[in-house]
Every structure is written in C-alpha cells, then in structure tokens.
Amino acid sequence: MTTGSLDRDTRLFVYEHFLAQGRPPTIDEVAAGLSIDAAEVEVSFGRLEESHVLVFAPGTRNIWMANPLSAFPTPFRVETPLGSYWGSCIWDAFGIVAMLGGTGVVLTSCADCGEEMTLRVKDRALDSVEGVAHFAVPARNWWDDIGYT
C-alpha cells in the first residue's frame, strides 16, 4: 500500500467511524478496521496532522477534530438525518450539513448574549434568518491555534 492510499484509507475510515459511532476511532480501531499494524496508523495520523486533515488533543493521538466534526461538545450542535454531531464552529456546523447531503439543523446561540439560534437548511438552502458570523483571526493565522479562530 502506498503512503497516499494508506492516508486516504485512514481518513475515510476515521470519517465513517465518526459518523456511525458519534465519536472518532482510536488508533487500534483504525488498525483493526483496515487490517494493518497500529504503528502504521500512528505514522499515517502524523502525516494527516501535518497536512491539517486531522487535529489531535494536545499531547495525544486522540482525534479532537476531523473537520467539520468535533469529538468534544461545542456550542454548535448539528442535527441531520444521519445523526447528531458537534461542529467546531459555525462554518464547520454548516459543513456537517453540507457533507451529509444538505439538509439539517444547526442549534447554536449568539456568542454575545446567549440567545438561541436555530438555523435550518433544507435541500441545500438556508432558511432566511437574522444574524452574522464573525472570524476573529485572519485566514493566514488560523492554524496558529486552530481551536481559536
């Protein structure tokens, strides 16, 4: 198996598992799923981290983000026909809806006042809703600290 195909298979397995189970797989689960050694998965994880495909909890090989999916609860809950997930931010929350066919609901709240915001998307069209999105960090600096953008 080439490096490219291993990383592709690892990536696809991570997403399939994440969507089916509602949480990302461990290294051992990826290894078992792909019938390869855990050491190969660890190296593949390293490459996928380097190329900003996967984000790990600091100091671990526990997947934190397989964008747009977040392993940990966030202020962006997403309900889709396939299941409910957490998005890392409003961009990713909408990304989950888009990735899973274009119909779903984003449940969030105004970061300032806390008022609930329910954002409905049906057949790839967002229902008219008041509100704005705000990026605090310029694009070129997003990966300086991807947990804060």
């Binding site: 964008n67 990304g95 509100g131 704005v132 999105a133 990026f135 310029p138």
Partner: protein, 71 residues
C-alpha cells in the same frame, strides 16, 4: 468562527473581550462557505485545497481582502 444575532452583538463581544474586530459576514455566506468547503469531504478523491484554491473559494462567496489571504 462564531455566530451572532447582529453586527451590534459582534461589536459588544469584541469590546468586552478586548478582541480586535475581525471579519463578519452573513449567515448565508457562512452556509455557502460550509457547502463549498465540505460538500465533498467524504469523497475518496477529496484533496485539501491549496492556498490559491482556498482564496478562490472565499472570493466566490464574496469574502475578499487581506483578511482572507493565505498565500
């Protein structure tokens, strides 16, 4: 990237946290961004966008200017 009820709420949030104002845009643009960025994420052929490709995506939904430059 956070959601707010209005621009006034963005101003208040930034002021309270002493965070410089970044870039704000409509939730429709945020949806278009999510769609353009992630619709093909489960494809076996998915590839991470290059900086130039990413800037083209931003520009296609009206997100232009120095804030959105990656290169």
């Amino acid at each position: 990237m956070l959601a707010f009820r209005s621009e006034a709420h963005v101003d208040r949030w930034c002021s309270a946290r002493r965070v410089p104002r970044g870039a704000s845009f409509s939730l429709e643009q945020a949806w278009q961004l999510g769609r353009a960025w992630y619709a093909d994420k489960l494809s076996p052929d998915w590839r991470r966008a290059s900086p130039a490709q990413a800037e083209a995506v931003f520009a296609s939904i009206g997100l232009v200017g120095d804030f959105w430059r990656l290169a």
